[in-house]
C-alpha cells in the first residue's frame, strides 16, 4: 500500500511541474509587464527599477522560471509564494487564512452530495421504472442543467432577498464570530447552489452502478439462497455498487474547488475562490498564480485519495 501511494505521489510530480510551467507562462506572457500597475506617482523610480529587475526583464526566461520555482517549493517559508500586490501580505499567509472557509464550503457540499445522492440513486435503482425513479431521474436532469452560478443567483434572490430567510453574504455575522449555528445559517445557500449539480450527477451514477450490480450473478445467487430482499440489496449489492462511486470522489473534489470560485464570488464567501477572482480582476499576479497552484494540488490530491480509497475498497485490486 505504501509503495502504491509513493508511486502515485511520484507520478504527481511531473503533473504539478506542468501546472507550474503553464501558470508561470500565463502570467509572463500576459500583455504589459506585471509592474505596470506600480507606475503611479507615489512609487519612486528606484522601487520600479527594483521591480523590473526582480521580474527579471534582463534575464532569460528559463532562469526566471527556475529561480521562481525553487523559491516556490519552499512552502515552509512564509514568503515562498511572494507577496500580494494589493496588501503586501505573504500569499501563503493569505491562503492559509482563507483555505479553511473554502474547505468548509466544499466539504459541506460534498457531504450533502453524498448524503442525498446515494440514497436517491439506490431508491431509483431498487424501484426501477417506478414513479419515484422517474421523479428522481427528471429532477436529476433538471438539476444537472442548471449552472451552479445561476442557481446561486436565484437562491440568493429568493432565499436571501425576497424571503429574507438567509444572509446575503459572508460566512459570519458581525459580533457572532465563531458561532457554529451562525456559520451553518450562512452555509445553507452557497452549499445548496454548489451541491445540486453534483447531486444530480451522482444520483444518476449511483443508480446505474446499482442496477448493474443488481443484475449480476452473485446477487441472484444471494436471492436464490432465500436471503431477505433488503439484506440482498443493502448488504451484498450496495457494497459492490458503491466501489465505482469512489472514483467520483476524486473527480468531484477539484470541480467543487473550481466551482467554489464563482459561488464564493456570488455569496461573498471569504475563501480562496473569492480571493482568486478578486486577484484576477486586480491583476494581483502572485495570488493568481497561487490559486492555480492550489487548484492543481487539489486535483492531484483528489485523484490520489480516490485511487487509494478505491484500492482499499475493492479487494480485486492488488497493490
Amino acid at each position: 500500500m505504501i509503495g502504491y501511494i509513493a508511486r502515485r505521489l511520484l507520478q504527481a510530480v511531473p503533473i504539478l511541474f506542468g501546472v507550474a510551467v503553464i501558470s508561470f507562462s500565463l502570467i509572463h506572457l500576459a500583455p504589459g509587464d506585471p509592474i505596470d500597475r506600480f507606475r503611479t506617482p507615489t512609487v519612486r523610480p528606484e522601487q520600479l527599477e527594483g521591480l523590473i529587475r526582480l521580474y527579471g526583464l534582463d534575464r532569460p526566461v528559463h532562469e526566471q522560471f527556475w529561480s521562481w520555482l525553487s523559491t516556490y517549493v519552499q512552502i515552509w517559508r512564509p514568503e515562498a509564494w511572494g507577496y500580494s500586490f494589493l496588501d503586501g501580505q505573504p500569499v501563503l499567509h493569505k491562503i492559509a487564512e482563507r483555505l479553511p472557509a473554502t474547505l468548509l464550503l466544499g466539504g459541506a457540499a460534498l457531504l450533502l452530495t453524498i448524503a442525498v445522492a446515494i440514497p436517491l440513486g439506490i431508491l431509483a435503482a431498487v424501484r426501477q421504472y417506478s414513479i419515484a425513479d422517474r421523479l428522481i431521474s427528471s429532477l436529476a436532469t433538471v438539476g444537472y442543467a442548471i449552472p451552479s452560478f445561476l442557481l446561486g443567483l436565484y437562491l440568493l434572490f429568493f432565499g436571501g432577498v425576497v424571503l429574507g430567510w438567509f444572509p446575503l453574504f459572508g460566512m459570519e455575522s458581525f459580533g457572532r464570530e465563531g458561532d457554529p449555528l451562525d456559520i451553518g445559517w450562512h452555509l445553507v445557500l452557497p452549499v445548496t447552489s454548489l451541491a445540486v449539480q453534483q447531486i444530480a450527477g451522482w444520483s444518476r451514477y449511483v443508480r446505474a452502478s446499482m442496477l448493474e450490480v443488481l443484475h449480476q450473478d452473485f446477487v441472484r445467487t444471494a436471492r436464490a439462497k432465500g436471503l431477505p430482499e433488503h439484506r440482498v440489496t443493502y448488504r451484498h449489492a450496495l457494497r459492490n455498487a458503491l466501489i465505482p462511486v469512489i472514483t467520483l470522489l476524486g473527480l468531484t473534489m477539484p470541480s467543487l474547488l473550481a466551482g467554489a470560485a464563482i459561488t464564493e464570488a456570488i455569496f461573498t464567501w471569504p475563501g480562496v475562490g473569492l480571493m482568486g477572482v478578486d486577484a484576477v480582476a486586480q491583476r494581483d499576479y502572485p495570488v493568481v498564480l497561487a490559486f492555480v497552484m492550489i487548484g492543481g494540488l487539489g486535483v492531484v490530491i483528489g485523484n490520489l485519495l480516490a485511487d487509494v480509497a478505491y484500492a482499499v475498497a475493492d479487494p480485486r485490486i492488488k497493490l
Binding site: T40, E46, W81, G170, F174, T268
Partner: protein
C-alpha cells in the same frame, strides 16, 4: 501650490487608498490632509457640558483601514478621519463648505497678501495653552524647503513668512495672492504643539548628535548609487544596507518593514534601500540644516505620531494595531467639553460587513457606503443615512478644438436640448445620482443655483443644427458636405452607470438626427492614451468621464487656456482644448481675491458661461451615503445630512440613550 485634480478613474485602478476619496465624500486629495472638516465651533455656543444626561458615553465609528501617521503627514482616508477628531486647524469648514474660524479668525488685508490671524483661547491635549508661537511653528514647518507634510499642504513658494505679533496674533504673508489659501490651507493645516515636536526632535538630535552628516549622506548615496544605476546592482544595495540601518537606528528612526519590499518571494534590497536612503537623506538634511528646516526634514520620521498631541475635541487613549483606536474627550476643548466621552474607531475593511454591523446596532457609523453596503442598511429602522452629491461629477466632454465636429457650439447646445437629463440620470444610475448642470457641488458656497438645465426640445435642437448648415439625410441623420453628423463617445468599460447613460443619450439624440456610437474601452490601455492625444488629427471627439472636484472652486486646471493640452504637454487636464478669454480673466481674478462674495460672483458668472457654451454636457454627481445610528445628532440640533461636511462640530456629537 498647484491645484491638483485627480482623474478618479485613473486612481481607482491603481491606488486603492484613494478609491474612497474618489467616491466623493469630504474632500478630494487636493483638499488637504484632513478627511473632512475639523471639529468645533463658534466659541460660546458650546455643547452643554457633560452632554446632559441620557446620552451614551461612547460612539463606535468604522474606519476601513489601518491608520498611519496621525499628523500633518496623513495621506490616507482612515488616518484623515481620525486626525479630524484630534487636530484643529486655524479655520474649518462649516456644513456649507465655507472656511470659517476655528482656532483663529484670519482676515486678509486689502491686497490679499497679508493674513492676520487672531487666536482663541485653547489648550493642547497635554494642558499647554495654544500660542502664536505654536501656529508659527506649524506653518514654518510647511514653508520649509524640507517640508515632509502631506504634499498638498507644503507651502514653500507660496508663503513668504509667518510673524508673531503678540501672544494671540500671527501674521502670514503670501508671496502672491492666492485665494485657495483661505479655502484649502487654513482649514487643513493642523496646529501642533511646538514643545511636543521640539521634544521629539530633541530626542532625535540627542540620538543623532553623534552622527556625522557626511557619513549619513554617504550612506544614503551608497544605496542611491547602485539602486539608481541604469542596471540596479542588488549586491551593491545589499552591501550598503547594514550601515544604513545602523545609522537610522542610532538616530532613533523606525525602520521600514522588509516585507513591504519583497516581491515574488525575493527581498529587493534596492527597493528597501531606496526608503532607507530617503530617510537618511532626511536625517542628513536635518543634521546639516539649522533651526526649523532641520525639524521639517525629519518631521515625518519623528515618533510622536503614534501619540499625537493636538487641540481637537478628542485625544488618543489606545492604539491597537490592526483592530481599533480609542479616543477620549479633551475636557478643556476650546469649543466646550465634548458631549460624548469616548469615540471608538474599529477597523473593518469590508464595507458590506461594516454596514451590516451598523444595521445590527453593533457600530454607529459607516462612511461612503458602496451600493452593496447601502443595500444592507437601507431597510433598517435603526439607521439613518446622510446622502449628498459628492465631489465627483460625470459629464460628456467634447473635444472643442478647431476642426473637431463638436467645436460648433450649436451642436453642443443641440445635444443638451435633445435629452431629458433628469430622467436619463435616474434610469441610468437607478436613482443613485443627482443630475448636474455644473462642476460645482450643490453644497458649495460657489454653487450657482440659477444655472438650470433646459427642457428637452427636439425641434429647437434641430433648428440649431440646421442653423449650422446641416440638412437631414434620408437615413434620419443630418449631413453637411457629404459628412454625416456622427461621432464616437469613449466611455470606460465596466462602468454600467456611465454606459447606461450614454446608451440612453444616444437614442435620444438620434431623434435629433445625430448618430452617436458608444464605445466602452479599457481605461489604462485605451482611454488614457486617447485623452493624451486629444490635440492630434486622430484625437477623440467626445469622452464620457469625470473629475473629483476640489473644495476650492478654482477652475484653473480644467478651463484655463494655458492648460490646453498640446503635443508638447499632452497630459494637462484641459485636453478638450477649451479656451475663452473671459473665462481666463474670471479664473485669474478668482485666484487673486479671497473675498468669498467677490469670488462667488465670479464663479457664478463662470458657471453661466459654461452652461451657455456646453463644452461639457454635465450629467450627474453620484450620491455619497454615510450611514449612522438613527438617533445620532449634535447636542444643539440635527445634522445637515445633505452636505458633504455635515459632520463638522465633532465635539457636539451625541447619541441619546434610548
Amino acid at each position: 501650490m498647484h491645484r491638483r485634480r485627480w482623474q478618479c478613474a485613473a486612481l481607482a485602478a491603481t491606488v486603492s487608498l484613494l478609491l474612497s476619496a474618489c467616491g466623493g465624500t469630504g474632500v478630494s486629495p487636493s483638499g488637504g490632509a484632513t478627511g473632512s472638516d475639523s471639529p468645533s465651533t463658534d466659541p460660546g455656543s458650546s455643547g452643554d457640558p457633560g452632554g446632559a444626561s441620557g446620552n451614551r458615553d461612547s460612539i463606535t465609528w468604522v474606519i476601513d483601514g489601518q491608520p498611519g501617521k496621525i499628523s500633518n503627514g496623513a495621506d490616507d482616508d482612515p488616518t484623515a478621519d481620525l486626525a479630524a477628531f484630534i487636530y484643529d486647524a486655524l479655520h474649518q469648514y462649516n456644513d456649507a463648505i465655507e472656511s470659517v474660524p476655528n482656532l483663529a479668525e484670519c482676515e486678509p488685508d486689502a491686497d490679499e497678501l497679508v493674513y492676520t490671524c487672531t487666536l482663541v483661547e485653547a489648550t493642547f491635549h497635554n494642558g499647554d495653552p495654544v500660542t502664536a508661537d505654536d501656529v508659527k511653528f506649524s506653518y514654518d514647518l510647511a514653508i520649509s524647503e524640507n517640508c515632509t507634510y502631506n504634499p498638498s499642504i507644503c507651502l514653500a513658494g507660496f508663503v513668504e513668512s509667518v510673524e508673531v505679533l503678540d501672544d494671540r496674533t500671527v501674521e502670514i504673508t503670501l508671496l502672491q495672492t492666492y485665494s485657495p489659501f483661505t479655502t484649502v490651507i487654513l482649514p487643513a493645516l493642523g496646529i501642533e504643539s511646538q514643545a511636543v515636536i521640539q521634544a521629539a526632535y530633541d530626542e532625535f538630535t540627542g540620538a543623532a548628535a553623534s552622527l556625522d552628516p557626511g557619513d549619513v549622506r554617504a550612506a544614503s548615496d551608497a544605496i542611491a548609487e547602485p539602486a539608481g544605476a541604469e542596471e540596479p546592482d542588488a549586491a551593491g544595495c545589499e552591501a550598503a544596507l547594514a550601515s544604513a540601518e545602523e545609522l537610522l537606528t542610532q538616530a532613533g528612526v523606525e525602520l521600514p518593514r522588509r516585507e513591504d519590499h519583497t516581491f515574488d518571494g525575493a527581498f529587493d534590497p534596492c527597493s528597501y534601500g531606496g526608503v532607507l536612503s530617503t530617510d537618511l537623506l532626511g536625517v542628513a538634511n536635518s543634521l546639516e540644516a539649522d533651526g526649523l528646516d532641520a525639524v521639517a526634514a525629519v518631521y515625518s520620521l519623528l515618533p510622536f505620531q503614534r501619540d499625537p498631541i493636538g487641540t481637537g475635541p478628542y485625544r488618543v487613549a489606545e492604539f491597537n494595531v490592526g483592530q481599533s483606536v480609542v479616543l477620549t474627550a479633551h475636557e478643556d476643548y476650546h469649543g466646550g467639553t465634548p458631549a460624548t466621552s469616548t469615540m471608538n474607531f474599529v477597523i473593518i475593511t469590508d464595507l458590506v460587513a461594516a454596514a451590516s454591523a451598523l444595521a445590527a446596532g453593533q457600530v454607529d457609523f459607516v462612511e461612503e457606503m458602496t451600493p452593496d453596503a447601502f443595500e444592507a442598511v437601507r431597510n433598517s429602522e435603526g439607521v439613518k443615512i446622510a446622502e449628498y452629491p459628492g465631489f465627483l461629477h460625470l459629464e460628456l466632454q467634447f473635444n472643442v478644438r478647431e476642426g473637431r465636429i463638436f467645436s460648433d457650439v450649436n451642436l453642443r447646445r443641440a445635444m443638451q436640448l435633445c435629452i431629458d437629463k433628469a430622467g436619463t440620470v435616474d434610469a441610468a444610475t437607478n436613482g443613485t445620482a443627482l443630475a448636474t448642470e455644473s462642476e460645482t457641488p450643490p453644497a458649495s458656497w460657489a454653487f450657482n443655483p440659477d444655472v438650470q438645465g433646459v427642457e428637452r426640445d427636439v425641434e429647437a435642437a434641430q433648428a440649431l443644427i440646421e442653423e449650422s448648415g446641416w440638412t437631414l439625410g434620408d437615413d434620419g441623420i443630418y449631413e453637411k458636405d457629404g459628412q454625416r453628423l456622427e461621432a464616437e463617445v469613449l466611455v470606460r468599460a465596466g462602468q454600467s452607470d456611465r454606459i447606461n447613460f450614454m446608451q440612453l443619450f444616444a437614442e435620444q439624440v438620434r431623434e435629433c438626427g445625430t448618430d452617436i456610437t458608444v464605445n466602452p474601452a479599457d481605461f489604462q490601455t485605451v482611454l488614457l492614451p486617447a485623452l493624451d492625444r486629444a490635440w492630434a488629427e486622430d484625437g477623440f471627439d467626445a469622452y464620457f468621464g469625470g473629475w473629483s472636484a476640489s473644495v476650492d472652486p478654482d477652475p484653473y486646471s480644467l478651463w484655463h487656456c494655458d492648460e490646453v493640452s498640446t503635443e508638447e504637454r499632452p497630459e494637462t487636464f484641459n485636453y478638450i482644448g477649451y479656451c475663452n478669454e473671459e473665462v481666463d480673466q474670471i479664473i485669474e481674478a478668482g485666484l487673486a481675491t479671497s473675498d468669498q462674495d467677490e469670488r462667488r460672483e465670479l464663479y457664478f458668472r463662470f458657471q453661466e458661461i459654461l452652461a451657455d457654451e456646453q463644452p461639457y454636457l454635465f450629467a450627474y454627481a453620484p450620491l455619497v451615503r454615510d450611514g449612522m445610528h438613527v438617533d445620532m445628532r449634535f447636542t444643539d440640533g440635527e445634522f445637515n445630512l445633505t452636505s458633504p461636511t455635515w459632520l463638522w462640530q465633532r465635539h457636539k456629537i451625541v447619541i441619546p440613550e434610548s
